[in-house]
Subunit: 348 residues, 3 copies
């Protein structure tokens, strides 16, 4: 989000495609939501439920789908995927801050680290032995990068990220504050009632264009590596156990936990606070609803859900109490079936 520029709607259509309807000369300089947009803003309509807000918007222009081409008189762009179109326009008006290469005087860098001249190292960041940082890598304040870590070109670490030794991170990744990559997996074994630690000698290997949200943790493998393939998008406070593999272009919402050794397919989507058990396999193109616990492999694509429906507390109390005795209820139904199966005259 560097500096603002302004341009005409016609220039936007020239750059990003779509059909222009109305005054192409209208100038816009920023994106905004339907309700808070002002003159000079371009907004978008992605779902018909927001049509009422479209009517009242003060934006100068709007991006809509074909079904809404006549829903407004504003200068507009018609696009098959208005939300994706909007994303492009937003990226155009809000480009990443250009990286000024250089190492802050308070950063602590081991001599054997190899850091591209175009990389930027912030105050009080600590870079370990043999670390390699690619072109235009940004390491913000207070980050700690362990020995032998490799980070690819154009990857940015926000402040206070910790990377343990030997992990590898690809190009164009974005890692938010408080993330911990490569801490020990939870490998313990009981011997005579006492838990003994098992050394965690694998790494974390992260592909290209991966985003990792604030305070997410990704454990290093016990023996082999924990792997995130290209294009994986993780929200905040996600926990990835040791030896997990997450397939390319899978998106995971906040507060999800994935237990050790589980293999997740490509193009999956997990809703917030879904919990995925260990040592299972999730196929490609599986969607897991938020709040759902998955304990067994899901080998077919589809959407899976398991949420206890919420209710007013007094209603929940009743239903929960029945649920606890569901076994008895089933037995009663069987008994009723047995009695109905016998001749009617014997019932009395």
């Amino acid at each position: 989000m560097a500096r603002r520029k302004s341009c005409t709607l016609a220039e936007i259509v020239k750059r990003f495609g779509g059909e222009l309807i109305g005054k192409g000369a209208v100038r816009v300089h920023q994106v905004a939501a339907l309700e808070s947009a002002q003159a000079g803003h371009i907004t978008f309509l992605s779902q018909s439920q927001y049509l009422p807000q479209l009517v009242g918007t003060r934006a100068s222009a709007v991006i809509v789908g074909p079904e809404a081409r006549d829903a407004t008189d504003l200068p507009r762009v018609i696009s098959d995927n208005p939300y994706a179109y909007f994303a492009k326009v937003s990226n155009f008006f809000n480009p990443p801050i250009p990286v000024k290469g250089g190492i802050h005087r308070s950063a602590v860098i081991e001599k054997t680290a190899r850091i591209a001249k175009s990389a930027s190292i912030g105050p009080c960041a600590v870079i370990g032995k043999n670390v390699r940082l690619g072109a235009r890598v940004v390491i913000e304040a207070g980050c700690s990068i362990g020995e032998d870590v490799t980070i690819g070109d154009d990857t940015r670490l926000h402040a206070n990220v910790t990377i343990y030794p030997r992990c590898r991170i690809g190009v164009r990744c974005l890692i938010h504050s408080g993330v911990v990559i490569g801490a020990d997996g939870f490998g313990i074994v009981k011997e005579e009632g006492i838990w003994k630690k098992i050394p965690q000698i694998g790494r974390v290997v992260i592909g290209d264009e991966v985003e990792i949200g604030a305070n997410t943790t990704i454990d290093r493998g016990a023996l082999d590596d924990t792997i995130l393939e290209d294009g994986v998008k993780l929200d905040n406070q996600i926990q990835i156990g040791h030896n997990v593999r997450i397939g390319a272009h899978t998106a995971i919402a906040a507060c999800v936990g994935i237990a050790g050794s589980t293999k997740i397919g490509k193009h999956c989507a997990f809703g917030g606070a879904a919990m995925i058990g260990g040592h299972i396999t999730i196929a490609d193109h599986v969607t897991v609803s938020g709040g759902t616990v998955i304990m067994k492999s899901l080998l077919q694509p589809g959407t899976y859900t398991g949420i206890f429906p919420s209710a007013l507390h007094q209603n929940w109390l009743k239903n929960a109490s029945h649920l606890r005795r569901l076994d008895e209820l089933v037995e009663k139904i069987h008994e009723l079936e047995r009695r109905l199966a016998t001749p009617a005259r014997r019932q009395s």
Copy 2:
């Protein structure tokens, strides 16, 4: 929690009200729990279930409600809200450490930052361009404060907090270690199977007297701001998605997640690990029980619950298996009803 002082019970009653029974001259210097209190301590009884512990307490004085006025012979204060009274006494004996203004020599401060002389900046803290810190603000070790952030008077950040650029925090807030405020919301859009990032250009705006627990994350808005109103209290490891608004004086226990664009009313209370879906509205004065998933708007005040009742594993196995086939059970009941509705003689 600076220094200790001692005072008499009569002085406490003079300062904080309530009815004194027994020796007002007894001196106390600290608060304590019923069971661990010693001579010189003042304790309290807030729930009748702890009456047995009251009998055995070694405290010098006690705060009780009217219903327990005769439950002890100890010097005591009668108060309608013994727990709130106790809180006042505890705050009196354990005042915040007075702030010594000053900037540690190892802190890194941009020249354009405007920092009150009475503010305190700890070791290795990093303060960005144009940051404004009010009177008596405390920024502890290792915090990173991004460009253009504003923090109001008397707000304290414990060690290793990260605030992203442009966020605003009110007066008298308390922010615990590991908190990340203003990281990007999880804004992605799929185009030809690939997730594209949407710039997150909103801010986080936090009111006055807000407390935020350790390792909690609050994402910046996508277009508009994420907002916490005055007096909101957040426990640890809470996740607040982009564009959420939390009404004044709402309290949220640990491990709660609130997905993007959800609006929470004032005076709500959420139990631990409650999970609140995105794009919904929660009315004022709603209570959500711990462990409950809320996926739809709650427009009426009340307490809402949705917890799967736990049981011994073998019992759970049975009930879960019935639950999976609940649809069949319902069909069986309907069949039984149909059969009973037909004349008895035809049943055989």
Copy 3:
């Protein structure tokens, strides 16, 4: 994980016991998983389900249980607990990095801190007044250790850990990055609709040989202390509320929350994302399954579960809808029972 050494299988058996079958002279230098092992590696089989992988392994040697003694021709060790045996071998090949005592020039140490000469303080670490650090303690980069904290011999804090004042940590503990120990418990009391803070004046007291995973938070006690006994093992992103006590040798998987004042027994095990309510008691030797919410005391050992079974979304919709009306279903069953209890001829 310092340097590699190699040794013969016979030497391993001499050191760690077990029965040697096959060529004792084979040399190994590292542990590995069945599938990824190469020549020079020793692997293990702990569960019969992995027998197929045993057949194809390229390892030079393997550790197996008595039941699998003839399942391979490889040089092998027979052990009653192959996984524990493997852990010992792994610890042998991957010993902790020896600690080089010394204080990095960028660390900030209060004069009154007492630090063993053999302790190691990393870059930008901050050590408060009167802190005591035992022999061979390691404090990595960016850690913040509050006033009056005591840390026992051989304990290691990875980068960016925060310990609040007055907490105590035992010997041989391992604390991962992002952990926050001793932040205020969530102690608030409502007075005229406004939440007031209650000072949290207890400490966190942690025993010996405790491991704490990345970004886990452990709150200080309100009045008394929060206590973790010896040998407790905590995974990542766990939240421990104020005044919780966790018994010795209890192991807790990631994303678990334990609400305030709850007492957990010894030798318990909690699966990932289990949520334990406040003010309850869990007996020794209790196992709680992952994803389970526990709201009442569990006074008998055993395994407790409460997971809503997941299903394809359309099936879940049906079952959830029935579940919401479980009370009606129960009433229907009762009605059927009543009707069947009356003489058959009256039914028509």
